[in-house]
Amino acid sequence: MANPCAGIAMRESVRAAPAYFDYAASTPVDARVAARMAECLTAEGEFGNPGSDHDYGAAAAARVARARVQVAASVGALPDEIIFTSGATEANNLALFGLANYYAAAGRHIVTVRTEHKAVLDPCRELERRGWRVTYLVPDRNGLLDCAQVAAALQPDTVLVSVMHVNNEIGVIQDLAAIAGVCAEHGAVRLHVDAAQSMGKQPLDFDSLGIDLLSLSAHKAYGPKGVGALVVSRKRGVQLQALQFGGGQERNLRSGTVPTHQVVGMGAAFELAAALREEEVKRIAALRERLWQGIGALAGVLRNGSAQHSVAHVLNVSFEGVEGESLLAAVRATIAVSTGSACTSATGEPSYVLRALGRDERLAESSLRFSLGRFSTAEDVDVAIATVIAAVTRLRRIGGWSARSAGA
């Protein structure tokens, strides 16, 4: 299979480094994106403050405007609907607190899902402390939400439904069209979508889906860290209360100097991601299947999340008879992956996402999330298969897994 990015090999200069399988955590900035960003940093480039009323400022503002168009086009939104933020976490906070505060008189009930990112769940917990009520929906064992669950959860004073598009741990895709339809039927309910994992992996049309608020992140799509966006529907008349004040930038919703190089990087990355999406998805899906076929050959390996309704780049698996921290330690010299577990302390906190899917604590803890990306190769995948099989086999032998599972 051909890699459309051949010649931009990520690890060319660091061949001894572990093979990277954590693209859902962060991606390297694409060299083409970095080149655009570099044009906005030094004295020879567009370094000015985009808010300044002189030629330097105007040049920077033009680059920001171009980036706004690129980001908007990649998600089917209008440029005026893009509010640049420091990332998806800030976008989620602005969406939740901004909307809840603005519409507080209309209602104080919010609906979300147990498998959302902490950047949604933690603001929801804080809103509960401040007097709002939050309903946390439980997805099915594949991680999917039924829109009937959303409909059943809506109350007369519900002001917001917040659902992520692509789950960061298991990669499942929620049916946004169906959920948006439920919200539309209810009238006053706004729909917020955390789409931090979607760009370049799954098509998304903000306007036609009827989404009110959409959170985006640049560094999950080969752009820089430290920049994201909240898309706020103008057509649907969504109003937010600002959370920070200062210079009135970004339609008074996000004061602070717009970081030209960051948003230019985001714009370039999103344009590239949209252009490469179909080809990349096809290539990466084949690599993921190769990975699953290889690892799945082991006994006692369970795939987490729907295989049918998931993005191409994420594979989350649990290994019976293996302790999670040891598994991660055993593979880390060769491959860089995330564990589904946050269990690196004695307190132990297995993945709440996998627990919500009904996995028991041990299986939730013994999971690995492989996420592939633009620079993943078949060679990387083969290294991962060999590494994981060797590590799991060894740890099971040390743990006497086959003996115990046989009833000894």
């Binding site: 302790e323 330690a329 055993a330 041990r362």
Partner: protein, 123 residues
């Protein structure tokens, strides 16, 4: 998670993982996989003068790298020592030697319990 060189050595190159075959050995275990840590020791003793000493030891462990590394170290270090229900080092000394976080002390106590259970078991 940080692992000291000693932890990495005994985690990556476990020499005493397994069970003892052949003549009867004492066996004891502690903890459970369901709780996240389980350790089993097999210990074979032999008379040496007036003393009973450890002639061979093996372990099985389901747990974090620290648990596996310490269990391996104990199984190696016990050879030739008097077969007493005591570790070659206290759990606090082991924690210091392996540079293990204090919050994992409970897991080391499970390793110690497994050793005591094995040494105390009938042959």
């Amino acid at each position: 998670m940080y692992y000291s060189p000693l932890t990495r050595l005994h985690f990556e190159r476990t020499e005493c993982a397994g069970t003892l075959a052949g003549p009867p050995a004492r066996r004891g275990s502690a903890g459970s996989p369901a709780q996240g840590t389980w350790v089993q020791f097999d210990v074979r003793t032999a008379p040496e003068g007036a003393r009973e000493v450890v002639a061979a030891a093996r372990f099985l462990a389901y747990g974090c790298p620290h648990v596996i590394a310490v269990a391996d170290w104990i199984a190696r270090a016990a050879i030739g020592r008097e077969a007493k229900a005591l570790l070659p080092l206290t759990v606090h000394q082991l924690r210091e030697q392996f540079d293990i976080p204090i919050e994992k002390l409970g897991r080391l106590l499970i390793v110690e319990d497994a050793w005591i259970a094995a040494i105390s078991a009938p042959c």
